[in-house]
Symmetry: C2
Amino acid sequence: MQEIPKEKVSEATQGLRAIAHELRLSVLCLLLNEPMCVQELMEATGAAQSNLSQHLSKMRLLGILANEKRGQQVFYRIANPDFAELVHALRKIYCPEMCGIKNK
Amino acid sequence: MQEIPKEKVSEATQGLRAIAHELRLSVLCLLLNEPMCVQELMEATGAAQSNLSQHLSKMRLLGILANEKRGQQVFYRIANPDFAELVHALRKIYCPEMCGIKNK
DNA sequence: CTCATACATTACTTGTTGCTAATATAATAA
DNA sequence: TTATTATATTAGCAACAAGTAATGTATGAG
């Protein structure tokens, strides 16, 4: 029966919200394997450019992703290993062979 | 590089959304220890009766919680062990000694 | 039967999230 | 320089989530 401050719950909740979205989760799954650029993520997920960009930005601001510019492309990777772990935990539960989402 | 159907991502997302809320996560943490009735959960979380009831109902409909009536009280427990696991995974990340939230 | 307690449900309002469309910027190519 | 490709940003709107307040229902006490 431990006590944890509300603040911790709030932090955890924030983390969960960040990945509790189909597109964002799909992206995270894809990035578990290797860094990818926006184009590749667009193709893999079927998302619209603007939309995808917004979600990537959101995750970057939260420290979940990091990005690196190579020429005119921007590559994204998972920056916070905690989230890789979280996704793995999810994968175990929902789908042992989770990752590499194709649109539809 | 496995492929998973959109459906699985959708399911996982639904699961995440279900616990990505301060009050719901707090309740889940409390219920990791033992079943509790609504009154007890109200005291432990500081939530309003109606509000708590709605969240409990939501989680019950999603199969996360189950409830049992004893006299005029209703006891809730975690029905789906997957969610207990998820919360544990979260706990590892955010707070090694997570659980037993007191209001404020 | 009446009252009190424990919980659920409904309706309403508000705040947040997510999408699209349009526009902006940066890099490379010609 | 101009055009093209890759990505980001902004604005506006539509959908959804969450909280409060009020009301409903069931159980047990007296």
